[in-house]
Structures are given as C-alpha cells and as structure tokens.
C-alpha cells in the first residue's frame, strides 16, 4: 500500500469577534484539510492550520509523501528533521510568546508531520478496522472530556456579507455577560470544567469575572484563566493571590506572564505566599526541549499540549509519558477548528494514559454551516466526545461542504491570521499587542 494522491484543501471558517491578548479574531479562521489516497483505495484525512504558510510547508513535503507506505512515519520524521534549517540552527525561539500557534517557523516540521501522520493513521485505522487511538496502543478513555472555553467578545458573529451571522452569545465584555455565555455554553454542551480567555479587560474586571463564575457554578466546576502573557509578574502574582480560592479544586492559572523565567518567578512568589495554584502553559512550553527546563525552573506545572504542533498523536503520547515522569500535569490547547480536528484531539486524548484535565476546544465557536464532516458536527455530550468504534478518525469528508469552505477561502483578502490588524480595523486604529499590557 502506497500513498498515491496528496490533496490539500484551504478553507475559511466563519469565526466570531473573539478577543485575546493577540487582538481580535478575524471573521474567518483559516484551516487546511489534508487528504491522502492510497493505491489500495483508502482515503485518510487530517486537519491543520490554514493560510499560505502551513500550505507551503505541506506542499514542500509532497515528494516525501507521495509514494510512501503510510506505516513508514518514523523515516518521514527523520527526513523532515534533517531538512529543518531552523532546527539545525538551534537558536530560534520556539515559544509562542510573540507568534500565534501555527505561525512559528521553528514548529514548521512538527506541524507538518502532525498533519501527515494523522492522515496516515486514519488510513491505517481503516486498513485495520480500528479507531486511531487503538492503532497507537489502545485507549486510556473512550470519552475524553473537554472544557467550556469562554471568550470576551464583541457582538455579532462570524462571516462577512451575505455569509455573516449572529451567534447566540452576543457581546460579552463584562463579568455578567460572561456568566451568561458560560451558562449558555454549558447548557448546549454539558461541559464540567470552565476556561476563560483573559488578557482582554483590566485584570480587576477579569478577576471579577472569575469570581462571578465561581459564585454561579461553585467548586464542582474547576476554573482556569488564560491571559496569554498579558500580565507582568507583579500583576500575575496579584491575580493569583486574589483568585487563590477560585482557581483551587482543579483550576489553574495559564500563561499569566511571558517566558520560562517569568513563569518561574510567578510560581516562586505565589509559593512563598503558600499559594500552590498550578501554572499551565501552551506558550512557554511548546516543544520537548522546553520540558526539562520548565521542570528545573518549576515554571510550568501543567503542559497544554496540542497534537497539531507537537508533532501528532504519537508525539502526544511521548509528551504524556514525559509529563508523567517529570511530575507535570497534562491538558490540551486548541485553536479554532472543524470536526476533523475535533476527532484528532479526541483520539490524542484517548491515547494518553496521563492526561489530568479536561482539554480546551474552540469547537462551540464554529457552526454546522461550515462543518466539513459528513453527517454534521461531532457531538459533544456531557462535555465529552465519544470515540466509538469507527475505523481511523471515525469521520469522513462532506465534499460539498469542503468545496464551500474553499470558495469562501478563495474570496478572502488575507492568507494569514492577524488578530492585531482586526483590532486596528474594528476597535482602535493604533492598537498593538504589548507584553505585558498590565
């Protein structure tokens, strides 16, 4: 069995005006659907970051992919490794302090490998008649849990022109409306853990938001807040101090300050106050080489992995083992995604014995209108995605929907995520991402 076709579909997916320290989400998120066909007539699919950069990186490996036995992934990885200019230099910054996930040239090969690996595992699963999580060693759980992912946001929803549509959450730029957003989202999906994207309002307003969420939902719903490095060490410590009670019971403080050193200082100062709220990160720890440093400095107690940029599902399993051995927690980071990525994240979570928190997902922010999975959106029930027993990823492409996503993409003037540009256009013509802002 050899890979005989390698197709890439660039899609635009309507996305609401969500806010973060990076700025404001554009009316469409960009995604790439990868499709591999084999000489045996099998099709494997995958989903990854969109736009020109990720597309070019995937195109660049076409000669390594076409003609390959989909079981031979190690040699693909070794070929990529040998071709990485950035990795060879070994001096770049692989953190996501300054670049959004999917845009760091240091990650290009782990992202590319992940996209190809998943499509190959989908093929293997279909050849074997087993779900991906079982192909890679068997499931640690069959219904991995996800978390409500709350965003401060402007009114309206995603899309442009005739495509524009309101979302059900409306404007949420204060604590009260965030409690409403959370109630709606939990009513829709049954999430049991709650994450708030912060770094948007004044820290006092975000502290108040978390306090109101805690008052509403109580300690049975663990709470997290993630300002994406928008705070100084001083502010991070202040927030950690004021939210000590609210972030206990399975909560955490995510990426309050930038860098492994900054995070370590926040940790040190909180511990000195007897506050052991764990720090989580998908910004300071984005590659294996960060882990021993993060452990040594005690910068990060919970790694937020993402199979999309950590190198795929088997690398996710390596990461699970690393975190277990190093005594670190593990959960999962997310970007806006469709149903294919939802299943990638579900299989990756199912295949990791050591996974200590419900994972992030942006899935509630996308809709049926853009879904490319045949039969419609992947259900999230009681906050969990059921793996089931369908071979491979367990989802197939709806090619009409893929074509619609490609049409939307073709019409768009941008080929790269730029949340700062959106802020300048819609909110403040002089807006810049400043770290730390507070």
């Amino acid at each position: 069995m050899k890979i005989s076709e390698f197709r890439l579909h660039s899609l635009a997916v309507a996305d609401g005006p969500l806010r973060s320290s990076y700025g404001r989400h554009a009316p469409y998120a960009l995604r790439t659907i990868v499709e591999l066909k084999t000489t045996d007539g099998l099709t494997g699919i995958s989903e990854t970051y969109g736009g020109d950069g990720p597309l070019a990186a995937l195109e660049a490996v076409r000669p390594l992919v076409v003609g390959r036995d989909p079981f031979q992934l190690t040699s693909l990885w070794m070929s990529l490794g040998q071709r990485t200019e950035f990795e060879r230099q070994g001096t770049g910054d692989r953190s996501q302090t300054h670049l959004v996930p999917g845009e760091n040239p240091m990650d290009v090969h782990t992202r590319t490998l992940a996209a190809i690996e998943v499509a190959c595992l989908d093929i293997i699963g279909k050849a074997v008649g087993k779900p991906i999580c079982d192909v890679v060693g068997g499931r640690a759980r069959s219904s991995p849990p996800f978390s409500a992912y709350l965003f401060y946001k402007h009114g309206g929803g995603g899309g442009l022109g005739a495509d524009a549509r309101e979302d059900e959450y409306g404007e949420c730029l204060d604590p009260q409306s965030m409690v409403r957003q959370c109630k709606q989202m939990i009513a829709n999906y049954g999430f049991k853990e709650i994450k708030l994207k912060g770094g948007v309002l004044d820290p006092d307003a975000e502290i108040e938001t978390i306090k109101q969420l805690r008052a509403e939902f109580g300690p049975a719903y663990p709470l997290r807040i993630d300002p994406n490095c928008a705070w100084s060490v001083e502010t991070s410590v202040k927030v950690g101090r004021e939210l000590r009670e609210e972030l206990s019971d399975g909560g955490y403080l995510e990426d309050p300050a930038a860098g492994l050193d900054g995070m370590a200082e926040v940790r040190r100062r909180l511990l000195a106050e007897g506050n052991d709220t764990p720090l989580a990160s998908n910004v300071a720890t984005t590659a294996f080489e960060h882990l021993p440093v993060a452990r040594r400095l005690d910068s990060v107690q919970i790694v937020l992995s993402d199979p999309h940029y950590w190198g795929g599902i088997r690398n996710q399993q390596h990461l699970s083992k690393f975190c277990e051995v190093l005594g670190m927690g593990l959960s999962m980071h997310s970007n806006n995604h469709l149903g294919v990525s939802m299943m990638i994240m579900a299989h990756a979570s199912a295949a990791c014995p050591h996974l200590t928190y419900a994972c992030d997902t942006h899935y509630p922010w996308q809709t049926e209108v853009d879904e490319v999975v045949l039969g419609g959106r992947v259900p999230i029930v009681n906050g969990c995605v059921e793996i089931g027993d369908k071979p491979g990823l367990g989802v197939e492409l709806d090619y009409d929907q893929v074509a619609r996503g490609c049409e939307r993409y073709a019409k768009l003037p941008y080929r790269k995520r730029d949340d700062e540009a959106e802020m300048r256009q819609h909110v403040d013509p002089n807006w810049k991402r400043i770290l730390p802002r507070w």
Copy 2:
C-alpha cells in the same frame, strides 16, 4: 478479535560458564516463551525472563489478558499500574546494583507488560500484514547493528550430563585468549563494535585486555568495558584514565561504579582531567524516573535500555525520545536469550529514531541445539539483524524445540538465576559478590 488462550512455556537453554561481577553463569539460562492465541486464529509470541518469579508474575495477569482485545494495551498498563504494591510504595530501589535483571520486584509490571505487549504486537502485525516495527510507527533502520559481547569464561560450554557441550571459545581468562575470542566472534558474526564484560579479573588485567583488543582491531572497532559496578570510584577513574584513548572513537565506560551518585562522581573526576569518555548504564538507570536524575547529576551519558524490562517496544520508543530530548545516548542491554528475543530487540531497535550505538546481544552464546525459532537461529550478518518484511516479529515457534526446552527445564533443580551459587560450587566455596571489589 479477543485473546482466547494464554500459554507459558518455561525453558532451559544451555549457557556457558560466563563470568561477571554477579558470579558465574549456570549451565542453563532460564527463559519463558509467551504464546497468545486469538478468536481469529492468530498466534502471537514473545520471550522474557525465566524461572518461578517471572512465571508467577505472568500467571497473575492471566485474568487481564484472556478476553482482551490485543489492541488494548494502554488499559492493560493502567490496570497493572494500579495493582503495583511496589510502585505504590514508591520507595524501593529499581536499580540493578544488587539484583540481576529480571529479579527486581520493582520491575515486575514493566517486565510483565513487555512480554504481553510484544505478543500482542506480534498478533497485530499478523492481522495487518506488517512487521512490528512498522506497526508502531515505521522503521528508523531495517538492519539494526549489534555488538560483539565478550566474556571472561571458564573452559567447556553450556549444558549438563548428556546435554553438555564444549563451545568453540574455550577458556578465556586472560587478555590473549580474549583477543582470540573476539576474532572468532567477529569472524562468525561480522560485528563492528566490541563490548567486554569486565569486573572479573584484576582491573589491570582488564585494562590490558582492552589495550590488546585495541591493538588488534584498531579505532574502527569501538570498544566498551562493563564491570557491573565492581569498581570503586577511585578504580573507575583510574581505568577511565588508562583507557582514555582506547574508549574514544565511539567507545564507552559502562557501569564502572554503583549508583547515580557514584557514577556522577566518576564522571566529574574524569571531566576534571579533560577526559570525556561517556558513561553508559543499565544498572543505575533502569526506569523512566531515573532519567531526569541521571541527567541532572550527569551520572549517565548513554542509557542501555532493554525492552524486556523497560516495558516493551512502545516504552522503548518513549525512552528513545527521552534520551534525544535530554541529550543522552541510547543503546541496548541484553541477557541470554533465544531467537524470539533477538527479534524483539531487533524490532525495538528498528523502531527508535534515536539509537546511537550498536546494541548488546548474548545470542552468540546460545546455539542451534536450543533454538525455538522455526527454521533455526536468526542470522546475524555483518553484525546486523535484518528485519525483513514478515508480519509481526517475523519468527514462529518450533514446537518440538519448545518441548525439548521445557523438558530440560523440568529436570533442573533451580528456578532462579543465581550466579553467586555457581561461583561457590565451581570456583570458590566462599565467594560472595562484593561491591566494590576493587
């Protein structure tokens, strides 16, 4: 597909009077062959440590194995983990300083898991029509290299009574005869790297042995010496100093002194002399939790793994990733074994991208007479074992040979490896393993 039968075959395998710091090898090594059959009519095999202890550990998991889908290995691991008294206590010593591999109660579950995992992977490989190394991600290499493994030894060979047979190497208890042993072994198998088991003669005689091997074979054949912790830190430093030239060019000094602290001190003192001969270990680092400590103390620069006690082939892949990330080398430890284990080691080596030295194997010390693999012994050509493209492990059992091995086992008076007892019986009635001896 479910596992419907779980059979264990206890075998005795003739073994020569090889010497190490543990004592003298008995006339028979003990091995267990694991055999699983599925409801689909597939058979998966494996090989592991022999004797009462390993057998009881395997018997204990029978209820977890029979009825299991062979793809569901993660949940088997999680069930074992939850049942480990020793691991729950978390205070035991998992090193092999005082216990031979296969006898440490702290390793019981990783050893048991490894034996079951490999038999399941053999089944999966057969179901899929792919070799094991391809089932677990694809091969990094198709012909993993092994090393000549030289032993000081008494005359004669393995076996007892009518079964006794001379080996071709005769007595080797001085430098000259060791050079002869090495020439014979390289002529037979084409090895390109050479490992000497030390800790037997006075260190000066072992230094002289290495010097004569270097004089004979030159720098193209990397040299290692492994006294299994028989030396003090002082002696280790002395040997490292005197063999600095001979252990360069891809050589290493293996487990000269006991413990992560002892190894660290040897390393520190050698480095202080400008001597960066790497230290390898399969004694101080035998489990994942040792790795961060070994790295922090710089005790071990090369981990000698063994899929038989590190938890199987997928754990071997985790280990490869750990060593790559931590900047450590990786090679492989061996115990006396048959052709099934030869293939386990070959697949494990093939499946690890980061593997930096030719692996150990005792295989030349066993013979066709005891081989249980159908068609006879696994060929080692130019020092390498060819993986080929047969499904699973790529070898099947010769049931007549298995029966003969079981008969030999049934007649033996011992059920546990005890090299000290052999020394007392044949060499010195008062012999004890003393660490350090020199």
